[in-house]
């Protein structure tokens, strides 16, 4: 499978944060980039990622992952 990029997560991001107009290029987006993505938003995003990719993050990952880049990276590692 091809490597996931931050843009591949765009759909989930807009699903979890419906009130936010997201920039066209989602590169570099992270917790705090907009109001909805606070720490609760981050948790909801990671739970949505789990549901979508049918994976499960460890506690450690959930406390550390705070950006789209990190999510993509973690997913790619899982896949490898």
């Amino acid at each position: 499978m091809n490597k996931l990029t931050e843009n591949d997560l765009f759909g989930i991001l807009s699903d979890v944060f419906p009130a936010t107009t997201l920039p066209e290029d989602s590169k570099g987006l992270e917790m705090g980039s907009f109001k909805e993505w606070d720490s609760l938003g981050n948790f909801n995003l990671l739970l949505a990622i789990e549901e979508h990719f049918e994976i499960r993050f460890t506690m450690d990952e959930i406390t550390k992952i705070k950006s789209l880049a990190q999510i993509a990276e973690t997913l790619n590692e899982r896949d490898a």
Binding site: F43, A48, E50, E51
Partner: protein, 556 residues
């Protein structure tokens, strides 16, 4: 949008995707984490409240002495009862025990969480009987269907104080949606059934009556079970009707002659057994029964018929039935569309009453002059004040009546009680008998005094199964009879278009009311009583009122 307050002893992860559907249907408010008792006590009486309680958050170790258990139960029931005695809308409590599973220890004793859990469920059941707007969800039971372990996630607990997994939250949201939907929407009243390969196996006309699959071992017994569940539904007040493409005589031959038929002719309220389009037949049946087609559900084994129904009559609920007949009985029992949250004793007589209605419609088809015909059928209405015994029927009428309903207010028990507390004559129900039978309680009127001389018709509704008998005129005369001695000079009515109440559209004008605009000073009095007038208003001056059609009725 109606406000729905969501709260729990666990953190419920606000904005989780599980809540998205509820969020689209209601103005969703999450209370502070853990403040479920505050959500019960402090929420507005008019909002909906749904809370989720996990007993494991109250019982730390699996031991609790008798007094502590009693305290715990009281600490849950007290805020709940507080809310129930003052609220005007639904309260839902979902509860799970959060118990651990330990086969060996469980072989010697019942887990303390489970003990308290069962005691609470019993208490909830009593409250649910007493308070019509209270619902409880036995989450241990509901979760068990897909696996109780799947509903919880210890990781989420340590991360965010939420004991539930995403899956568990989705389940809780789904149960809440289903209950709230049934709370506000009337349930389906009619189940339309096909015959061949639906209520029996095989095709009449092609197979002998004796060789149809009903009752024998194997698949025939699945059809019998399916028929038993249909009879159960019929006893609960769901109207069973047939729409099948057969020769009518052959169908009745099976009903009359097959020894294993559980479903009998008397369970079938109306039928169209012919070769016409089923959608056309359903439209005719809806006229015959006086029920809107959006209260019809359709069960047919033929996927083509189902697809056609979905396209031609999208308002009919076409049930996507399981492929295999052995799955049908359970599927039918679990269908939420026929479950009802308010049931009252008059349901049992309903089948009989709808049959009377069907006969009435058939008879009137042959009569040119409707009024002279009505004079011959001994219409005998009577009115009685709403009381403890009949109030559940009053609420049910409010919830279900769509056609002859001038303002379509969906009142709760508390609201209806308010009217009688103002004046016991101001909320009454109307029953009707005629030669076709005792129709039971078919009408409800709630009145509000606006000032000394003015009465406002808050609720005026009439069950559709007695429409066409001008009973509305008699109900109006009953209002006058009750108001005149109190010095009322003027009755104000309002018609609010609901999209479904055309039947009541001309009621006021046909009964001597005049369309009137309400003067500003009177409008102020209305708003002080909580009414914002948004429909068309009519007034009737009692001194000169002439109510038509009164010659049709025999007072009892």
């Amino acid at each position: 949008m109606k406000k729905l307050v969501l709260s729990g002893s666990s953190f419920l992860i606000p904005n989780h995707k599980a809540w998205a559907k509820l969020q689209s249907l209601y103005d969703l408010a999450y209370s502070e984490y853990g403040d479920w008792s505050g959500a019960l006590i402090q929420s507005n009486p008019d909002s909906l409240v749904s809370i989720t309680i996990n007993l494991s958050e109250f019982i730390e170790f699996d031991s609790l002495n008798h007094d502590k258990s009693k305290d715990l139960i009281a600490s849950i029931l007290t805020p709940l009862i507080n809310r129930l005695s003052s609220s005007n809308d639904a309260t839902i409590v979902g509860i799970c025990s959060g118990k651990d599973f330990q086969v060996v220890r469980d072989a010697k004793e019942i887990n303390v969480k489970q003990k308290i859990y069962s005691q609470l469920l019993n208490q909830f059941e009593e409250l649910a009987l007493e308070f019509i707007d209270f619902y409880f969800i036995d989450l241990d039971h509901q979760f068990s269907r897909l696996g109780i372990d799947k509903a919880f996630d210890q990781r989420n607990w340590y991360l965010s104080h939420c004991h539930f997994s995403s899956h568990g939250l989705y389940q809780i949201a789904k149960y809440t949606e289903e209950i709230l939907l049934r709370h506000t929407e009337p349930s389906y009243k009619v189940l339309v059934l096909d015959c061949d390969n639906t209520i029996w196996g095989g095709v009449v006309g092609e197979d002998d009556v004796g060789s149809l699959a009903i009752g024998q071992d194997g698949i025939g017994s699945a059809f019998v079970d399916f028929q038993k569940d249909l009879v159960k539904l019929s006893n609960q007040g769901v109207l069973l009707v047939l729409a099948s493409k057969n020769n009518e005589a052959e169908v009745w031959k099976v009903f009359d002659n097959h020894p294993s038929m559980v479903l009998r002719r008397e369970h079938i309220v109306a039928w169209r057994i012919n070769w016409n389009e089923k959608s056309k037949n359903i439209i005719e049946l809806s006229e015959e029964l006086g029920l809107n087609i959006n209260s019809f559900a359709f069960w047919d084994d033929n996927p083509l018929e189902r697809e056609q129904m979905k396209v031609l009559l999208p308002d009919v609920l076409t049930i996507d039935i399981p492929e295999n007949i052995w799955d049908w009985p359970k599927y039918l029992r679990e269908l939420p569309c026929f479950s009802k949250l308010v049931s009252s004793s008059s349901d049992k007589n309903k089948i009989y009453q709808y049959k009377a209605r069907a006969q009435f419609v058939q008879a009137t088809k042959n009569v040119a002059d409707m009024r002279s015909y009505l004079e011959t059928i001994n219409l005998s209405p009577s009115a009685s004040n709403v009381n403890e015994l009949t109030i559940s029927r009053a609420v049910q009428l409010c919830q279900k009546t769509n056609q002859f309903n001038v303002r379509t207010e969906r009142h709760t028990i508390a609201k209806i009680k308010n009217f009688s507390e103002d004046d016991k004559d101001f909320s009454f129900m109307v029953s009707l008998k005629d030669i076709y039978g005792d129709h039971g309680i078919v009408g409800l009127v709630c009145l509000k005094s606006i000032d000394k001389e003015t009465i406002f018709i808050d609720t005026f509704l009439l069950s559709c199964r007695v429409l066409g008998r001008y009973l509305e005129s008699w109900m109006l005369s009953e209002i006058i009879r009750r108001c005149q001695p109190k010095g009322t000079k003027n009755i104000i009515g309002e018609f609010i278009i609901s999209g479904r109440n055309e039947a009541a559209q001309n009621f006021f004008e046909e009964n001597d009311f005049k369309e009137t605009e309400i003067k500003p000073e009177l409008l102020k009095k209305f708003s002080s009583k909580g009414y914002l007038i948004k429909g068309i208003t009519y007034s009737l001056q009692l001194a000169s009122a002439r109510i038509p059609n009164m010659n049709l009725f025999k007072d009892v």
